[in-house]
């Protein structure tokens, strides 16, 4: 084999030997690609469910205030996210060294969905944008070695999807007590995200398409905030008191 690889090939057998080697390599890469695509699909599904869980718990109709519920949602979310991280851990050996870049396209979809879920949980807990380093840290083994290098592009594209979930959260929360303040916080937050991502658009493929979705989400939140502002403008009472009156009139 060694000789057939480093010299010209004089016999048919030598040619066949060489191609036999290629076949093994191509089959191996193809099998690996299939395994990674399957894992990526699993991650996508789990991440989507995690996002639903976060919404569910964060907008539950309990007596608690929004913050308490958000924290409980985040806590439950972390449990789900750890399950996903275990799948990433199991993919480590398939993505070592130059294998990561070879198969990046197969891994990206699941990874971005995971980042969307992770950043949503992070937002519920901290009301901030999760940093690149923090995301990479969730994808490291105990010794702190990354399973694979996180690309800036996957990080940004995942975050970009977060704004859509925040919009949904804001709209659901808005008619609850304290929801207006929350909506207005989220409005400011999403506005900042949009501004921060704007300058990166020409350098990150696919980001500007997602920016236009972010823009739509932002306008939906703005419209919701507007409705509330207009509605309370007719009364001269602070919004807390208005809320109480409404609550009393309904709860009967």
């Amino acid at each position: 084999m060694a000789s057939s690889q480093t010299h010209s090939l004089h016999t048919k057998e030598a040619v066949i030997d060489l191609f036999d080697h290629f076949r093994e390599e191509l089959d191996e890469q193809n099998d690996r690609r299939e395994r990674l695509i399957k894992s990526s699909r699993d991650i996508t599904n789990l991440s989507k469910r995690c996002i639903f869980l976060l919404h569910r718990v964060a907008t539950e109709d309990t007596k608690e205030d929004l913050e308490t519920r958000a924290l409980r949602a985040a806590k439950q979310g972390w449990g789900k996210l750890r399950d996903i991280q275990r799948i990433f851990a199991s993919m480590k050996c398939e993505l070592e060294g130059d294998l990561y870049w070879r198969h990046q396209k197969s891994v990206s979809p699941g990874l971005q969905e995971y980042i969307e879920a992770l950043s949503f949980a992070h937002y519920l807990e901290h009301e901030t944008l999760i940093s690149y380093q923090a995301v990479q840290q969730t994808l490291c083994d105990e010794a702190g070695t990354p399973y694979f290098p996180l690309t800036i592009s996957d990080y940004l594209l995942g975050l970009s999807d977060l704004t859509g979930e925040l919009m949904r959260y804001a709209i659901s929360a808005i008619s609850r007590k304290g929801g207006r303040a929350k909506a207005s916080d989220i409005c400011a937050f999403v506005r900042h995200c949009k501004a921060d991502f704007e300058g990166m658009c020409p350098r990150v493929r696919g980001l500007s398409k997602k920016q236009s979705v972010t823009n739509q989400s932002l306008q939906k939140i703005e419209d919701a905030a507007y409705t509330i502002a207009v509605r309370s403008s007719e009364y001269d009472l602070p919004s807390d008191i208005l809320d109480d009156i409404v609550a009393r009139s309904i709860s009967g």
């Binding site: 989507k48 469910r49 639903f52 919404h55 569910r56 907008t59 539950e60 109709d61 949904r168 709209i171 659901s172 808005i174 008619s175 919701a224 409705t227 509605r231 009364y235 208005l242 009156i245 409404v246 009393r248 009139s249 309904i250 709860s251 009967g252």
Partner: protein, 219 residues
Amino acid sequence: MDPQDLEFINDSLDRDVELREKIKEEVGELDRKTRSMVGLLNKIHSTPQDKIPPLVDSVRPGLQDLQTTTTAIYELIPPDQFWRWKEMWSNSMRNAVFCATLMEYLTSGTLMSLASASAALGIREEWKNRFTLPAEDYLHGLITLVNELSRLAVNAVTLGNYEEPIRISKFVKDLFAGFSMLNLKNDTLRRRFDSLKYDIKKIEEVVYDVSLRKLAHPA
């Protein structure tokens, strides 16, 4: 191809085409019936509260009449092939669910369960695998119901009924809590569920207006 095989295949294809034609006809019928019920129920927006019960009663025969058509479709569908053909009537059945659950809400103020809705549309338990009401279609019907109730909340106030929005608000919030339990794919149901949040917001606004103006006097 062996001529016998060819004949076998051509026969099967012909049978499918014929079956599709027959189903299409019945679905047309189903569609006409539900459209007519939807048309009648549309009047709730301009009907004073005390005239609602007779209005609902006038629609009931239409609902019962659906059974003839659902039975006809059931009889056409081969065993286990429900999912093969259901796309053809999903839309009509969702509208039918909407009618049934709206009528139930108007009558008792409560949510009609999937089982009751199936029964109301004349679907029998023992038909399953040939004709049933899948959760997905029931859920679509419920979302249409919420769309309509948010409109009703507005129009009830215009008609001087200030209690209705509050009743609707409670009903819809419970339903929303139910929907929140689901893990949806990125499909139509998800998109419609998102839109449901806007209906709830609208209803809340009406409740807000009404309570702050002290027009409603809760018990």
